[in-house]
């Protein structure tokens, strides 16, 4: 039953994410991307085009989206044999992290300019936020947040799983609400100084709401996860995520991905830690280190391991 629901949610999520990408298709341009070399952009046209027009660098105007007044100098344009794919070579390497606007004059029959934006796939960017929050900037091991709850609930695997799942649920809901509040109330009315109070209030509200709903709708689930709900509010990650997404001006999907990554990262950290701590109970540990001190040392080793993820860039 639960599996089925999760699958449905995932499917609709994927659809919702893919739609804007599909809608972006243009009539003249079939595809565009950054080339293999650092100073290339590759454009594929929908139909065959006139070689003379396309290969004339004077027909182009290319700039980084946020600096429209600085035109990037074009070295050459080469149209491939199929008369559809053009490779734009620039004098200086481009920064593929930024969206670039390309506008080609007199390309269409009507003589109008074709303007389009070249950027890395947005889905990839969203995914990189997720991976970033999950592994590279794992909130527990590389940002050192949420440690009280982390050490408190990582003694048993069952507890770890329960806490992690409850936490992920609450953080996603509360981060989305915080995003709405920040974008539509706090920012427009210059109430930024109320950030902390509003965010923590929203978290309490979410916890209370999840508590009430779960109690009525699914008592079995409530019996399993209810105890962790109170602990969620004492976890700094839950307040750090809204603050971070307000600082970075993330949009809705980016906020969603950050919250999901933060929750997932917490779950991962708890699960890893509890696996070790269950085995440690059987180990022969000096009395001075028993309990919390050795847990800290283990967490430190995990943090060292997670340091290896830093600088990882997939997209």
């Amino acid at each position: 039953m639960i599996n089925h629901t999760i699958r449905r949610i995932l499917l609709s999520l994927v659809l919702a994410l893919a739609l804007p990408v599909l809608a972006q298709a243009q009539e003249l341009i079939a595809a565009k991307s950054f080339g293999k070399a650092a100073n290339e952009i590759v454009v594929t046209f929908a139909g065959t085009v006139e070689r003379a027009k396309v290969e004339d660098p004077a027909n182009y105007r290319i700039y980084e989206e946020k600096d429209p007044d600085i035109q990037l100098a074009l070295e050459s344009v080469v149209l491939a044999e199929d008369e559809k794919t053009a490779t734009l070579t620039f004098k200086e390497p481009l920064n593929p992290r930024l969206p670039h606007v390309v506008s080609i004059n007199r390309l269409a029959e009507s003589g109008a300019a074709a303007t389009f934006t070249v950027m890395k796939p947005y889905l990839g960017y969203l995914f990189s936020i997720l991976i970033g929050a999950l592994l590279i900037n794992n909130f527990v091991f590389t940002k050192y947040l949420g440690l009280c709850v982390f050490f408190g609930t990582s003694k048993r695997k069952d507890t770890a799983k329960g806490m992690g799942l409850t936490f992920t649920m609450v953080i996603v809901v509360s981060a989305i609400m915080s995003w709405f509040f920040y974008q539509f109330i706090l920012k427009p009315y210059g109430l930024n100084f109320l950030q902390i109070v509003v965010f923590i209030g929203l978290v309490s509200l979410t916890v209370q709401a999840v508590d009430t709903v779960l109690r009525k709708v699914n008592p079995v689930l409530f019996n399993a996860f209810g105890v962790y709900l109170v602990l969620v509010i004492a976890n700094c990650v839950i307040i750090a995520v809204p603050l971070i997404l307000a600082d970075n001006e993330y949009n809705f999907w980016e906020s969603f991905m950050l919250a999901l990554g933060a929750g997932g990262g917490f779950l991962l950290a708890l699960y890893l830690m509890s696996s070790v701590r269950e085995r440690m109970e059987l180990a022969n540990i000096p009395p001075t280190f028993k309990g919390v001190p050795i847990a800290f040392i283990v967490a430190g080793q995990f943090a060292l391991a997670f340091l290896g993820f830093s600088g990882l860039s997939l997209f």
Partner: protein, 204 residues
């Protein structure tokens, strides 16, 4: 119900017997994250001290008009208010220290230690007792942070409060944020060791 401890005992209790970092194992995030120098520990200690004392007094003052059903939300609101105030004060008057502290000042809201003291102590005791208890807890936190900062700064950078005392950097590792885990773990073990030795000596 009133506490039978004197004010001095309340303060000492917060620093030693119930030290928030080494004994209660609460509010660990900053203890690991930013206790890299004595100064950082001191600054965050000041902020927590302020929030703890103010919140304790506020709750102790209004404890009779707080409805028991909305106890926890009221605590959170009180803490959030005082955190906002100290956040704004630090941002205005000590911008450099504030920049180093990053997000941790705002995260004081979620520190379990403050909520716990409000629930366990301030909601039952008089304003004076809560005030001294708040001071004890705040100082205890500050002491813990500074002790960690001392060890990490000395071992990591060979300096104390920015003054070069060793002339070389023994172990750069200790100044990395993640060394906080090891440092806290080792210091806890150290305190445990002292306790064990002390008990053994008394028994003998």
């Amino acid at each position: 119900m009133a506490t039978d401890k004197t004010n001095l005992q309340l303060v000492v209790n917060g620093i030693l017997n119930e030290n928030p970092i080494f004994r209660l194992v609460l509010s660990m995030c900053p203890a690991v994250g930013i206790s890299t120098t004595v100064m950082n520990g001191f600054m965050l200690g000041i902020a927590v001290f302020f929030v703890q004392v103010c919140s304790s007094c506020t709750i102790a003052l209004f404890k009779n008009v707080i409805h028991p059903r909305i106890r926890i939300p009221t605590y959170t609101l009180t803490i959030a208010t005082w955190v906002t105030v100290i956040d704004m004060i630090l941002a205005a008057y000590l911008p450099e220290a504030y920049a180093r502290m990053g997000i941790f000042i705002k995260l004081i809201v979620a520190f379990a230690i403050i909520t716990m003291r409000l629930e366990m102590f301030a909601s039952k005791e008089s304003v004076t007792a809560s005030f001294w208890d708040g001071i004890g807890m705040g100082l205890g936190f500050m002491f813990g942070m500074m002790a960690l900062g001392f060890v990490r700064e000395l071992l990591g950078m060979g300096t104390i409060l920015g003054y070069d005392v060793l002339g070389f950097k023994p172990l750069l590792f200790f100044v990395l944020p993640l060394a906080g885990f090891f440092c806290v773990g080792l210091m806890m073990a150290f305190f445990n060791y002292i306790e064990i030795v002390y008990k053994r000596a008394r028994r003998a």
